[in-house]
Assembly symmetry: C2
Homo-oligomer: 192 residues x 2
DNA sequence: TTCCGTTCTTGTCATATGGCAACTGCCTTT
DNA sequence: AAAGGCAGTTGCCATATGACAAGAACGGAA
């Protein structure tokens, strides 16, 4: 029973009883990923992973064929392609381990079974979706009314783990700038 | 019984039986808005509105105190602040009628009652949330790897209603550019 | 250690967009 | 018709960021 981090997570993020939580976590499988290993590949259907430790990165390709990092997932977050998981459609993105990772995963089918039998978990699932939606909304807004430098500042303030483990080129495309622009932004930034 | 547009909408966007749909639509209230009237004001809790006709606009303010249009809602869409509605928290944005509007609204409380009694409707609600999430994701990506001109082209191609009724300054902040930049983009664009 | 490939930085120049102010055109009020 | 206000356009210049290429730094493989 090494599911303790997952149990802690649900205790912190829902009002479900411990009994209910243990019942739920029993449906999750232990998973390990080495650095660079894939959780999800384009074209496959996404499972959901609770990331207990490590850092993951989601990416896709732009029209020129260059990689664009669409998201980073630090430990304590749920990692999945929302559309692919909830609608059970092929994923348009790849999700890869940036560092070695440990987590617990569940398929949509199982998740749905649990949803049906435990209304509070259904409620929790909805909350989670809404929170994801809010964070994308914030990010869209940040792209509109913040400079690349401000977005960089926000990232190193709020998401230290990303900043420490991810490659700069991946951070650059996540922030919406080129490698060289990010490099210059960092130079300015380090001069205070 | 003027709920026909709402009934049509659910018939097109879900697998629910007509009987179930009529049952659901009975919980919605008829609503009318004059141009410039507000559906939602900052600080209030959002209801959900199915927009049968007209155009609405959501906006908030940036750090300088300038309006930023965060979304347009054309007829046939559901209009609400997702976070405020689903989490029942005060809204951070305003939603205003751009043209005269007709629609049907429901409170979260009623919606929730219906969710509890009709599992297919719950399923429909989840799909809706995921679709909203996907569209924000796309928009974030567009901000990263498309130019303002491409975003403008996409808008006039995919959302003609917005383009026809909304003010250019509102379209500009939605696209993430200034009024004058949009003006120049339009000039270039009209020269083919 | 040496070599090689990748990541990151930097220089130079080009381009997109912003900021501001003036001007135009349209609508409303009187 | 005149006056005022707001939306939109345009000109001018400043700034942010991109594109590309060269060099520096670092790490893994032999």
């Amino acid at each position: 029973m090494s599911k303790q981090p997952l149990i802690d997570f649900f205790q912190k993020n829902s009002d479900m009883s411990l009994q209910t939580i243990i019942n739920i976590t029993n449906h999750f499988e232990d998973r390990r990923f080495l650095k660079n290993e894939f959780l999800l590949r384009e074209g496959k259907v996404s499972d959901l992973l609770y990331l207990a430790d490590g850092l993951m990165r989601a990416y896709t390709f732009d029209l020129k064929g260059d990689e664009v990092t669409t998201n980073f997932f630090a430990k304590g977050r749920q990692v999945f392609d929302h559309a692919s998981f909830f609608l059970q459609t092929p994923s348009e993105e790849n999700i890869q381990a940036v560092t070695d990772c440990i987590g617990y995963s569940i398929t949509f089918e199982k998740m749905n079974t649990v949803f049906h039998s435990i209304p509070e978990f259904r409620e929790y699932g909805r909350r989670m979706l809404v929170k994801e939606l809010v964070s994308y909304k914030k990010r869209t807004l940040a792209m509109i009314n913040k400079t690349a430098e401000q977005r960089y500042e926000d990232l190193i303030k709020d998401d230290k783990e990303i900043f420490q483990s991810a490659q700069l080129k991946h951070i650059a495309s996540y922030l919406g700038v080129t490698n060289s622009s990010l490099s210059r932004i960092r130079r300015e930034f380090s001069r205070h």
